[in-house]
Symmetry: C2
């Protein structure tokens, strides 16, 4: 099996499946009821909460089950922001958070709050000083993922938590990508997770709020899950989620070593075997199973189709796959190449031979896409001392391909002016310059679109 | 099996179980992804949406899946109220709606909106004229359940929808209790449902918004389910929910006749075989499987325990079981007896012999509770021409028991003054008077608690 998109959703763990089946029979009734079937559901729910709390490293009464990780983030952020409203309405997030966090921030801003985005380095990592600089007397909440979902970079959560704690500001940690691998260390205040990322069933998230954190649940009142997650409890799925979290944790240490070796192999061999590739994400502080790279002169969607035809399921943060046609906000914040982007995220138990098959198939897939796209000839014209490339109306990765075709036509020190109205070019032309050792001079408004100026250095 | 609480949650239908198992293997991936596993999940999701839309009687693109019926109500009400905010902020609900609707109304009021509650008759039914009277130029939304969850009374949805439509006001119908039995007829605008009420798995609700209804989804943005239900789609559970809805609908007409005969039997025999019982809810316009009655001189919680020991699982809207110690808002709005309240809601396939066993066990269970409670002697004292019963500090059903003990001690035309600080007495003493043909004169503040004045008529 070539399913390499575990960071989106992991296949159901066998333990989860078994627990789900058993609790469909035992746990379908309303756990709020006092009769036999209700008491049985309540016992299952309580036991699942104990197990999940033990895995997270919190008290059972600090943990509630939500209907998804997204809901956990929405409810957690809204609850702390409302609970600490008297302190102020300032929210801090990193620039590379999951969309559930960034959309919570947007909603907060739309409701009159203010938001500071902390930048990341080229590896995708924040540093604690960045959070320290962002803290203000009116900061109600800071959010930081435990590890990035697109490039696998692990964040310095404990250090950031210390900085926040010293200022009396709670830190919400979106632990969706890392919870299967282990507890989140450090003095965080709120934590969220998503069961289908660790092999649990869909329909279960978790929200942990440490005692002492001011929290005011938002939305209509509902007595279930301590008033923090409205709606009938999904006991069978919750039982399965908790069981699979324990199961993956038991295998985590050993599996981490194995998957890390496989992703190391991809990190090392892809740039050797495919020309013009940039591997992105922090090379050391990273999750075991995720590796991400970008291929010049390739559009992500075509490459995904090629790989799918070859039997491999991966995802892409490339501008060319998203329905909005804007590049991944994560790659953008890191300032790395977004075109031809591929994220490989190995599920627990991914087979070595499948990874080898993938490494064997990738060069051909990239070459096929490049062949298709290589056709268009750049319409270049020398204007004064500048070579102008008109890429107006063309989408990623064509502008970069056209730039690469003509850079040799100007003398060293000469300029190429690429006219483009593609949003992705803003990101990819500077990234290409960095990869190729050319100078990105800057951009300026043109009669149509934007002109990107590149100086040939060598 | 004596599980008679289907109105809370129905056991999983065999078809749902089978569909869930199959789609756990086929539908665990992210339906937004373009690779094979994602396309498969998308196909399952699309097919489930088509099937559910057909069962509801709407277009597939009008229906989204939520994580519960409660979430569907919260999202539906909030979305229409926001979408029609320019019209005004007035909301109409019936007094007997499910708590998810009433809590939405509370939240709306807390946010500055206004709410009108439409009253019901003694059978629990609204009438269209009540909604007509409540409509105002600034009415943004009206809500009405298709049938009541506590007493089974079916509401005149089509008539109310006509009245609302004539005023240009959308009607949201909470169809949680009736959707397994059939489509909701009439010109409603928004409809909500809950899969675990029809034998689907927990974790799935549905929200239908007719084309043309102004709707602005609330909360942080999320691209899933047309932006109306945030979080990763629970495809396996959705597939199971849609499959079981089709399955129960195929059996509904036949099963309705069978269950109606069984609940008719309960309606007729309980008052014959147990003294001092009031059957509540509309005797004709009612769901097939629900029957509710209240027993004088009994507390609901003790009776539920007695019945649970005898192997029967039922619920109660009695003041004595709720954690808040206030009687069910439904029984209160109907003005019927709340003490010793029992709701029997038969699941699909409930066996006749189990119903007969229940009818056999009930008189003994009621008698046992009455025996235990019958012990306290009323402390009565004649003050002027009024017999005073001091029930201060005593909870439902003791005040009514003490009243019943002494009513014969005053002459016809004489007064009994019951002192009580129990909230339920407000409801139960007038209800007892109506059942017993005595006159409830009214209540007045006393030195402690409230004095209820009752005149002996016969």
């Amino acid at each position: 099996m070539g399913y390499f998109d575990a960071a989106s959703s992991a296949p159901l763990h066998p333990v989860a499946r078994q627990a789900l089946l058993a609790s469909l029979d035992e746990g379908w009734a309303d756990p709020a009821r006092l009769y036999r079937e209700g008491r049985r559901a309540r016992m299952l729910l309580d036991a699942a909460r104990e197990a999940a709390a033990e895995a997270v490293g919190c008290r059972a009464d600090e943990l509630v089950f939500t209907s998804s990780g997204t809901r956990a983030v929405h409810a957690g952020a809204a609850g702390v922001l409302a609970g600490r409203r008297r302190v102020g309405r300032h929210l801090i997030v990193s620039a590379v958070e999951h969309s559930s966090v960034l959309h919570s921030a947007d909603a907060h801003e739309a409701a009159g709050g203010t938001v500071t985005q902390v930048t990341v380095d080229r590896g995708g990592s924040v540093d604690a000083a960045g959070y320290g600089d962002a803290l203000r007397p009116d900061t109600a909440l800071a959010c930081l993922q435990s590890a990035n979902h697109e490039v696998g970079t692990e964040q310095p959560v404990a250090e950031v938590a210390d900085v926040c704690r010293a200022a009396g500001v709670p830190l919400l940690v979106d632990a969706a990508q890392s919870l299967g691998w282990g507890r989140v260390e450090g003095g965080w205040s709120v934590l969220t997770g998503s069961a289908h990322k660790w092999g649990g069933p869909p329909g279960v998230g978790l929200l942990v709020v440490r005692k002492g954190v001011r929290f005011a649940a938002q939305g209509p009142a509902d007595e279930r899950e301590s008033g923090r997650a409205a709606g009938f409890e999904n006991v069978p799925a919750i039982v399965a989620a908790a069981a699979s979290l324990r199961a993956v944790r038991a295998e985590a240490a050993q599996e981490a070593v194995r998957l890390r070796e496989l992703t190391e192999r991809i990190r090392a061999r892809v740039p050797r075997e495919v020309a013009d590739v940039e591997v992105v994400g922090d090379p050391r502080r990273r999750l075991p199973g995720i590796v991400t790279f970008s291929c010049l002169y390739v559009d992500g969607e075509s490459l995904l189709h090629e790989l799918d035809r070859a039997g491999f399921s991966v995802s892409s943060g490339s501008s060319c796959t998203s329905s909005t046609l804007t590049p991944s906000h994560v790659l953008k914040a890191m300032g790395v190449l977004s075109e031809g982007n591929v994220r490989v995220s190995l599920p627990f138990g991914a087979a070595e031979e499948d990874v080898e098959r993938f490494l064997g198939a990738l060069p051909g897939a990239v070459a096929a896409v490049r062949r298709t796209l290589g056709a268009p000839e750049p319409r270049a014209a020398v204007r004064d001392d500048v070579l102008v490339v008109d890429s107006l109306g063309k989408r990623c990765p064509i502008p970069v391909i056209e730039l690469a075709r003509v850079i040799g036509d100007v003398p060293v020190g000469g300029l190429v002016r690429v006219l483009s109205d593609d949003e992705a070019a803003r990101l990819d032309i500077p990234a290409w310059c960095e990869m190729r050792g050319q100078e990105y001079v800057g951009e300026e408004p043109a009669e149509r679109g934007t002109a990107h100026l590149v100086r040939r250095l060598g």
